[in-house]
Amino acid sequence: MAATPPPRFAHNPFFVLGAEPDRPRVELEREGQKLLGMLELGLRSAATYATPTGPEARTPEAVRAALAELRAPEKRLLHELWASFARAEADADASASAGADPFRSPAQPSAPKSDDDEGPGIAGAFALFGWRRP
């Protein structure tokens, strides 16, 4: 079963622009134009953006779509709620174990074993019966 992170994280306009949710609209527009310019020049620093669900590729279309979304105040407010991570990060930084990323566990959590997770399987199990692997 493949993970399908909802676009509200991966495509959140604040993450696309790399901007804080409480930044004024003018600043967001400026940030967007700056990113568009950087993308046009092919700068690698602008090619991706960080989200709580992992890095995403930044394209001029995504930047323009993000700017368009943020021009509607009611849409912007909803995106702000989903992007309230800045505060989370600040809290985490202030905590004793500085540097820990609240979005990412330090390592993959070691889930308790389930029936589906009992160890690596046998690659040639069907071959033992002389059968072709499906």
Binding site: W82, R87, P112, R133
Partner: protein, 506 residues
């Protein structure tokens, strides 16, 4: 090319043709051989006597061949033709073999399917022949279902094959032959072993049924080691390995099993006791404020892959509690109102927060469905957002089951028949969806779903039984309905299904 169904009339025609052929051969031999010399001497009585002798010898030889074909055809097909991937001759011999008298077409289809699995690549023509043979069966049995499943596996449809083979193990009656069920179990064991589902391998090996092939017993022995259940000793594993074919291929499995320590007592079920809040600890430090905390957890779990291996009940419970706290504390509302005032949309803040909460509930429901972890019961008492998620999950599950049940019912009413294997597939899909919904929604949801599923499935099975004579697949449906009726306490359904099974040989 499509295979001819081997009906009783067809057999009679073939037998007559064979007798005629024998007479002709006898006659020809007589004419060309000794009979010709005697005929030249002009003694008609002697000619007739010699001809009769020759015909008798011809018929005897023919009878002997037929007997040999019946007695030794299947061993020849199974141990020589199938390993060589020669599907057609194997199917021919299987069709006439004594072992497949109760299901000759199923046996032929299974022989062809087993040969197909031996070939290096999938052969669509062979798959078509298998489908034609299975379609020609008057009443489908375990052999037909297993053959269809193996053809699906050969095509690459592994999930479909797995589902059908599980169905083949449930077939009852005269067509529940041991060989196809043995093959079905062996394939399922290989499939589970390849996916590392060791406990499933052990379950399948321990289930009642025909004796397993040696390779399956070796896999089961090794799986018991890996799963930490009661397992054979090292010597036992060596013996299993020596008894199984393909020593070179199975040697790594043997070595891995021997390298795994043997446990004398079953390990405690780790699923039972994931520490409450353990998932949160693994996330590292979390924000203390409700909204950022819930968002941090949310973002962590929404992107896990494979989710069903990681999001165990305690972790989903933590996430639900975090969101319930957001709702209870009004954290999102306060933040939204403060920001709405600055954005000049204060009047819309309420609706936006509601939409935000709905999206949260939708994500929680999605996480529950994807991970197979039920929210109901995790949070006691459930808060507002958990409640909304539970409702969404139930609605989606219910809709999924109702949709299939309605399709089945309308097909039954309109008498739109599908090939027997497809009927079984349709039933398996409905049952799988119902059981999954029941696992997530609990007994309440099962009670809610059962009346409609019972009506649709019972009418469907009655149609299969009465009009289509598909007793092999109808009976397991009645049996499942009875078991489920007892579980949900539906007295009328229990009565009906007892009568169905009792009257119809249950």
């Amino acid at each position: 090319m499509s295979a001819r169904p081997w009906t009783r009339a067809g057999r009679r025609r073939s037998a007559l043709a064979l007798v005629a052929a024998a007479l002709l051969v006898g006659g020809l031999v007589g004419r060309l051989g000794a009979g010709g010399a005697i005929a030249r001497r002009g003694d008609p009585a002697l000619v007739f006597a010699v001809l009769m002798v020759l015909v008798t010898v011809g018929l005897t030889l023919l009878g002997l061949l037929i007997t040999l074909r019946g007695a030794f055809g299947w061993p020849l097909a199974r141990f020589v033709l199938i390993p060589l991937g020669l599907g057609r001759p194997a199917a021919y011999l299987a069709r006439h073999a004594n072992q497949w008298q109760r299901d000759p077409e199923g046996g032929a289809a299974l022989a062809e399917a087993l040969a197909l699995l031996r070939r290096p690549r999938h052969d669509p023509a062979a798959a078509e022949r298998i489908a034609a043979l299975v379609d020609s069966v008057a009443t489908i049995g375990a052999a037909g279902i297993t053959a269809s499943a193996l053809a699906s596996a050969s095509r690459g449809d592994r999930d479909g094959a797995r589902e059908l083979l599980l169905g083949a193990l449930e077939i009852e009656g005269t067509k529940a032959l041991p060989f196809p069920q043995r093959i079905a179990r062996a394939w399922l064991i290989a499939d589970a072993a390849e996916r590392g589902r060791w406990r499933r391998v052990v379950e399948l090996a321990d289930a009642r049924g025909p004796a397993l092939p040696a390779s399956a017993r070796l896999l089961a022995g090794a799986a018991a080691r890996f799963a930490g259940t009661h397992s054979p000793t090292d010597t036992g594993l060596w013996i299993l390995w020596l008894l199984s074919p393909g020593h070179k291929d199975s040697r790594p499995l043997l070595e891995r099993a021997i390298a795994t320590p043997r446990v004398l007592h079953r390990r405690p079920d780790l699923e039972e006791a994931p520490a409450r809040g353990g998932g949160v600890d693994e996330l590292g430090p979390l924000p203390s404020e409700p909204l950022p905390r819930a968002l941090a957890l949310h973002a962590h779990w929404i992107a896990r892959d494979p989710l069903h291996l990681r999001l165990v009940p305690s972790r989903l419970g933590d996430l639900c509690r975090a969101w319930d706290e957001v709702h209870r504390s009004g954290a999102a509302r306060r933040q939204a109102e403060a920001r709405a005032a600055r954005l000049g949309i204060l009047g819309q803040a309420e609706a936006i927060v509601e939409r935000f909460h709905d999206e949260v509930a939708a994500d929680l429901a999605d996480l529950s469905l994807r991970s197979g972890v039920a929210i109901a019961g995790l949070v006691d008492p459930p808060g507002e957002l958990s409640q909304r998620a539970i409702f969404r999950v139930r609605s989606q599950l219910l809709e999924g089951v109702e949709e299939l049940a309605e399709t089945m019912e309308s097909r039954t009413v309109d008498k739109r028949a599908l090939p027997a294997v497809e009927e079984w597939r349709a039933w398996s899909e409905l049952r799988r969806r119902y059981e999954r919904a029941g696992a997530l929604g609990g007994l309440d949801l099962r009670r809610l779903m059962f009346p409609q599923v019972h009506r649709s499935a019972c009418n469907f099975a009655v149609w299969l039984w009465n009009e289509r004579k598909e007793t092999g697949i109808a009976k397991p449906i009645f049996r499942w309905l009875l078991t489920e009726a007892e579980a949900v306490g539906d007295e009328a359904a229990i009565d009906l299904q007892r009568r169905n099974l009792g009257v119809k040989g249950g």
